[in-house]
């Protein structure tokens, strides 16, 4: 999967919108950005959200991959 094909660079610096960029002390999610190059470097070898979620311990990334599935941008 090449994330450049499914994500939009919204900052001009190779970053896409990320609804789960951080979590505050009370557990609330804060939106921000995610590096498209980072996604390609670490998850580019996978094709499905399930494979990507299995390859990370990050709670925010797992939610992000699910969100991409809901958006119809990534196979489950």
């Amino acid at each position: 999967m090449d994330f450049r094909n499914i994500l939009e660079d919204i900052t001009g610096a190779g970053e896409a919108y990320m609804p789960y960029a951080a979590r505050d002390g009370e557990g609330n999610w804060i939106d921000g950005f995610i590096s498209i190059d980072f996604l390609n470097a670490n998850f580019g070898q996978y094709e499905t959200a399930s494979e990507m979620k299995a390859a990370t311990t990050s709670e925010g990334l797992r939610l992000f991959f699910d969100w991409l599935v809901e958006q119809g941008k990534l196979p489950a």
Binding site: A22, I30, F33, I34, S35, F38, S58, E59, F64
Partner: protein, 252 residues
């Protein structure tokens, strides 16, 4: 000779008194003389070297240790030690000075110098207002944004988040920062997004290089009046920000 105690004296005298009071008069001159000689031997003689262990000997020993009340008591006597202490106390008293001593700008008594210190501190610190009267040279920094410890933020792997949004930096010439990660160092970037009057980011400036081990940065010249401060987690796991404090360098 054997040591004669006060109790012995008392017994000797009681013996004489009993003899007289009973009317027996069975004490002859030799016996009285013997008792008196015993007493005399116990008292000792008035001399530079009284017989050892007599009362005179013990009194002389005490007198020798006390020393004489004079301008120069014999060394190592109690009076000589007291005189030395008196000298020290006189010195301390002189160094302390008195409450009426005037404030000293140069050398002076401790009270005079303390008065000067109090005056200087009063110039610097307004006790009533609980605030400094003047800005100290070099202390041109003040917190521009603080990240409270209770607000630890966990940044998702590969993501970036604006920690401080629209910070007003208009009164500063530069900003510096202190950044602490929780537990250990992780790959990160800190960026300042300089905003124009229409609230758009015009410059995204990295203030900490990728993978930089330093946890302080700056001073960075102010480009616009408002900025967003961002933290980028470049690690493959989620990471917690512990502290990110931004300090502004005050103009002038």
């Amino acid at each position: 000779m054997s040591i004669v105690t006060i109790g012995d004296f008392k017994n000797y005298l009681q013996t004489v008194a009993n003899a007289v009071s009973s009317g027996k008069m069975n004490v002859n001159d030799a016996e009285v003389k013997s008792v008196l000689q015993t007493i005399a031997a116990a008292v000792g003689e008035v001399s530079a070297t009284p017989t050892a262990n007599t009362l005179a000997d013990r009194l002389k020993a005490i007198a020798d240790r006390l020393g004489e009340a004079s301008a120069n008591p014999t060394a190592n006597t109690a009076l000589a030690r007291l005189k030395a202490l008196e000298g020290y106390l006189d010195g301390v008293e002189a160094a302390l000075g008195t409450q009426s001593d005037a404030e000293a700008t140069g050398n002076g008594s401790i009270i005079a110098i303390l008065k000067r210190l109090r005056a200087i501190l009063s110039d610097v610190w307004n006790d009533t207002a609980n605030a400094l009267n003047v800005q100290l040279t070099g202390s041109n920094l003040e917190p521009a944004a603080n990240f409270a410890l209770s607000q630890d933020v966990v940044v998702t792997s590969g993501s970036s988040v604006v920690v401080y949004s629209n910070v007003d930096l208009s009164k500063y010439t530069h900003i510096s920062g202190v950044f602490f990660m929780k537990n250990n160092l992780w790959p990160h970037k800190i960026t300042v997004g300089w905003k124009n009057s229409r609230d758009s980011i015009v410059v995204q400036q990295e203030v900490v290089e990728t993978g930089d081990a330093h946890k302080i940065f700056g001073p960075i010249p102010i480009i616009t009046k408002n900025a967003n401060i961002r933290v980028v987690n470049q690690d493959t796991v989620d990471r917690t920000i512990f502290t990110l404090d931004i300090y502004g360098h005050i103009r002038g």
